[in-house]
Amino acid sequence: MNTSAKRALIPLGIFLALAALLFYGLQLDPRKIPSPLVDKPAPEFSLPDLKDPNQTLTRDILIGQVSLVNVWASWCPSCRQEHAELMRIAREHGVRVIGFNWKDTRPEALAMLQRYGDPYTVSLYDPDNQAGIDWGIYGAPETFIVDAEGIIRHKRVGPIDAQVWAEEIRPIVARYQGGKP
């Protein structure tokens, strides 16, 4: 190839590089905001139990085993959409799923659990976004993977379905459950 032909390839190369960059940009979801809390200890909280208002739940409940902390609300359609998958995960995979009932009312939240089943070992009740701000929650559903030491290892924004569970959540849960990938 002579030099002028080579030189003609430079704009083509620049174009392809730009196209690749912009195409990559299109794949990114601007709604998914990386959490600054990943790899940091889960924030302290003191919230009532959804089912038992007299019971106060604190960060201590996260210690001891890997948990999924699932932010949900009865007003959130995507939460209903992922509900069946959470039921399956809790039943079949022995992962502890902790509910984080957010900006909801107790009667409506309890009605939803009654109607669709309750995948949660326990549900925190945060109607006023008191602890939610400390957790950096900005929508529902969101799911945090918290390891046995209470350190946040991952945050998923949006509903979990079978594919998300298999490809995104399960490998991380397994890594922190047994040290095996």
Binding site: I33, P34, I133, Y138
Partner: protein
């Protein structure tokens, strides 16, 4: 025909009415947040105007009707009433929601390309342009061959004739 026109006019008026009634809602959102010191009130308004709502993303915390934005406005108000500084409020939010709450990203290694990338692009373009121009100038003018010279003379003579 007349009937359908009346119907569409009514629909248009209703739509316009709906738009008019929802628009001023923004103006009221900050009314409830006032401090004894007017400067502090202004500081609160500036601050919520500079921070981004995470749900709607293209609105500031001051302008957004989203539930989370309302909660954060209340939280910021509470912190400022406690006497916390502007920077403390910003740090509090960045610690929880990340740099995303800031419209202007901070200067750090991961954002260097964001801050200086455009200047690099412009610089590179200017360099290419300068080089091309330089090369054009440097190119020696090629002499005409004997045949071309004769043809040129002929053409010049012809045009000269026409003007006489």
């Amino acid at each position: 025909m007349i009937r359908t026109q009346t119907q569409s006019l009514a629909a248009a008026l209703m739509l316009a009415g709906a738009l008019l009634t929802t628009a001023p809602a923004h103006a009221f959102t900050l009314e409830e947040f006032t401090f004894e010191d007017p400067a502090r009130t202004q500081e609160f308004r500036d601050l919520t105007g500079e921070l981004r709502c995470l749900v709607c993303q293209n609105e500031s915390l001051a302008g957004s009707q989203a539930g989370v934005a309302q909660d954060l406005r209340k939280e910021i108000y509470r912190m400022m009433q406690e006497g916390r500084s502007r920077q403390e409020v910003i740090d509090f939010l960045v610690e929880r929601y990340g740099d995303f709450v800031l419209y202007e990203p901070p200067l750090r290694p991961s954002t260097l390309i964001l801050w200086f990338g455009p200047f690099l692009f412009v610089g590179f373009g200017a360099y290419l342009l300068a080089r091309t121009l330089q090369r054009k100038k440097a190119e020696p003018e090629q002499d005409l061959s004997e045949a071309e010279r004769a043809r040129l003379q002929q053409l010049l003579a012809q045009t000269g004739d026409q003007h006489d």
